[in-house]
């Protein structure tokens, strides 16, 4: 007879892009465990109600930080700022920010392509670089970032987004290889299509394969606790992407995917 949330040792974690649909559910789960969080976002007006929500739900410290992950100076100062807000050095970071460029119509132009790569890869890699430097000497620490199944193979419907996520997946893989001997876990999260504000109105969000943000958040929470390496969420994307990855390019280029 027990569903009362279990408390574990409080973790001090930075949640980057906390207003995203997946991060919202994830933040709620982590504060219910008693963890302390610094939630970041670009827009202070959207962060405040999010932090209020987490404070009602959790018993730990919840701090907000207006933070632009594309701003190099801000990224360099992220861990210092978070430590000051929490009163303790962070021992984990979850990178959730991202946007989905619309590649369904005309080809993206040069500027749009750069923006999409910067949003999907460059800023996340910068944050992870700062995190790796801050956490490399903290055994037990973890880094997690939301990549995508779209990064496993480029498809005509979202290859710029997919390329950025492929870069992120490779970056995380290398970081894991580098930090593993130091006892630091690195988690690559590969969700499929998730029903969030980001995918609102897209036909794909109404597909039977689309998952609820909370299902994905639950999987991520579990993967962090298990110190897992790569998470496909929901689970069926692992066999699906294995099959898609095995299709010879000569056939793949003819498919409408």
């Amino acid at each position: 007879m027990s569903r009362t949330p279990k408390r574990d040792d409080p973790r001090n974690v930075i949640l980057v892009g906390a207003t995203s649909g997946i991060a919202r559910g994830l933040g709620r789960r982590l504060v219910a465990r008693g963890w302390n969080l610094v939630v970041t976002g670009r827009d202070a007006a959207r962060l405040a109600p999010l932090a209020d929500d987490l404070r009602v739900r959790g018993s730990g410290t919840i701090a907000t930080l207006v933070f632009d992950p594309s701003d190099g100076a801000a990224v360099a100062g992220l861990f210092g700022a978070a430590a000051a807000l929490l009163g303790a050095p962070p021992d984990g970071i979850i990178v959730c920010h991202g946007t989905l460029p619309d590649e369904s119509g005309a080809l993206l132009d040069v500027g749009q392509t750069r923006d999409a790569i910067d949003a999907g890869f460059t800023s996340a890699a910068m944050v992870l670089a700062a995190a790796a430097r801050a956490l490399e000497d903290r055994p037990g620490a973890f880094l997690a970032a939301i990549s995508s199944v779209a990064g496993d193979r480029g498809r005509q419907s979202n290859y710029t987004y997919g390329a950025a996520k492929a870069g992120l997946t490779a970056y995380l893989s290398g970081l894991r290889n580098r930090l593993h001997p130091r006892g630091v876990a690195v988690l690559t999260v590969k969700p499929g299509i998730v029903r969030t504000a980001m995918t609102e109105g897209l036909a794909a969000a109404r597909s039977p394969l689309a998952a609820d943000a909370d299902t994905v958040a639950r999987d991520i929470e579990r993967a962090i606790l298990r110190r897992q390496d790569v998470l496909y969420t929901p689970w069926f994307w692992w066999p699906v992407m294995t099959v898609i990855g095995a299709i010879p390019e000569a056939i793949f280029k003819r498919l409408k995917l």
Binding site: M1, S2, R3, T4, P5, D53, V56, G201
Partner: protein
């Protein structure tokens, strides 16, 4: 680009209608959605647990509150909880029961949103003592037709407060509210079961035990006829105090058993709940519940059907309607008797039939309950048959000064509605004040003539 309309229905899966659906990410987004151009009407939708056609508008726009779901604040001294409208009762229980707080009243499912609960002014098994949810609501924030958010309470904009409470979303979109939670010492309820032989004894048991029981409800056998008509199993319960738990249970007083949630995976081609299957169920249920006392957990007591996901599919592709009638105290015995004999004679099976006694009204303009009794039953949809039956039941209700619950209604006509809800004109005057162009409308409000077709 306007997204394709989706076919929506209430929990009864009858009737259906096509609406364009928007799910704003926050309250600012909701204000933009409401302030946009919606010539064909707009209505809010929470978790879609109203049974009929109150949470969609055929040809119009539905705004979901699913993402407007943040807690805003909680005062552990008074129990006052401030939330956005899309927060569900299930979420509130998950966060607050472990701290010793529970909902002040709750319907038979926890998968309702705060916004929907206020719009339908929901009631639960403690209505005879405390009234409906409106009794505990201190403030409602309503996004009205021009896209601005108006805060209302009993002291401030009280016209909007009493029209929005129970107003089925027709004054605007409820975006936030504050209401009081109540203290509980454990997650258990101590229940006394009484098996009664007929309707009269059922009402007598209510009369005798309700004053001392926090929660009270009767499962009623709607297939029983003749002298056994109205035979019931009355369940009267109180929140179990800590001292009455076993030493073992006391270590986790707010724990709930982890139940395997069963699911109805698809809609069977015909209703599985027909007169034969329901008759067997009723006999077994009646026989199984002798007079005794039992301690059960809150989920089992308040939300027995929540353990079967998509149970509404059992009624087959044509769905079902839920008919919830209220009779004032002085006419309830006669009214219920006539209603039950009409249902028994029709052979319409009701799997879930619930009778309970009702307490104070909360002042809402379209308020459903006041002192008396309410009977709720499910009837599988059969075209033609059900319309005729409900028409007969509506007339019985009217003759006895009763009324039908808007959160369940799917078939009533405008004339009947007007006769049952005498404060309608007062409600319409408030609606005009905050919604002069008649933006907020549902398929139900058009059927009932609350808004023009």
């Amino acid at each position: 680009m306007s997204p394709a309309p989706q076919t929506l229905s209430g929990w009864g899966r009858f009737p259906v209608g096509d609406s364009v659906v928007a799910t704003p990410a926050d309250r600012a987004g909701m204000a933009r959605a409401v302030g946009g151009d919606h010539g064909a009407g707009l209505i809010a939708r929470g978790l879609g647990r109203a049974y009929g056609d109150s949470a969609f508008v055929a040809g119009g726009t539905v705004v979901e509150t699913a993402r407007i779901d943040r807690f805003r604040g909680f005062d552990p001294q008074s129990g006052l909880l401030d939330v956005e409208a899309g927060v569900s009762f299930a979420e509130i229980i998950a966060v607050f029961l472990p701290r010793g707080w529970f909902l002040p009243t709750t319907p038979g499912t926890k998968y309702v949103t705060v916004g929907g609960a206020i719009a339908a002014d929901v009631h639960g098994k403690n209505h005879h003592r405390h009234g409906s949810i409106g009794m505990f609501v201190e403030r409602i924030d309503v996004c009205v037709a021009d896209g601005t958010v108006v805060s209302c309470s009993r002291g401030e904009n009280s016209d909007l407060f009493h029209a929005t409470l129970g107003g089925m979303g027709l004054t605007g979109v409820i975006v936030a509210a504050s209401f009081r939670l109540v203290r509980v010492e454990t997650s258990r309820v101590t229940v006394d079961y009484h098996r009664t032989a007929d309707l009269e004894e059922t009402l007598t048991v209510f009369e005798a035990g309700d004053a001392g029981s926090e929660h009270s409800v009767a499962w009623i056998d709607c297939m029983a006829s003749g002298r056994a008509m109205g035979r019931s199993v009355v369940m009267q319960g109180r929140n179990t105090p800590l001292g009455e738990l076993s030493p073992e249970a006391r270590r986790d007083p707010f724990g709930l058993p982890r139940k395997r949630v069963k699911s109805v995976p698809f809609t069977p081609p015909v209703s599985l709940l027909n007169s034969s299957s329901v008759r067997v169920f009723n006999e077994v249920f009646y026989a199984a519940h002798g007079n005794r006392r039992k301690v059960v957990d809150l989920d089992t007591f308040f939300y027995p059907l929540d353990s079967i996901r998509h149970w509404n599919r059992l009624y087959g592709p044509r769905g079902f309607i839920q008919y919830q009638a209220f009779f004032p105290r002085n006419s309830s015995l006669d009214g219920l008797r006539e209603l039950l004999s009409t249902i028994v004679a029709s052979g319409a099976a009701s799997f879930l039939a619930v009778l309970k006694s009702c307490g104070p009204a909360d002042g809402a303009m379209l308020s459903f309950l006041e002192p008396g009794h309410t009977l709720a039953l499910d009837i599988p949809y059969r075209q033609g048959v059900i319309e005729a039956l409900c028409g007969r039941l509506d007339r019985i209700l009217l003759e006895h000064g009763g009324r039908l619950y808007l959160a369940k209604d799917a078939l009533m006509d405008g004339t009947t509605f007007r006769a049952m809800y005498p404060r309608l004109d007062e409600f319409l005057a408030v609606k005009r004040r905050y919604d002069p162009d008649g933006l907020f409308a549902s398929s139900q409000s058009r059927r009932l003539g609350i808004t023009p077709v």
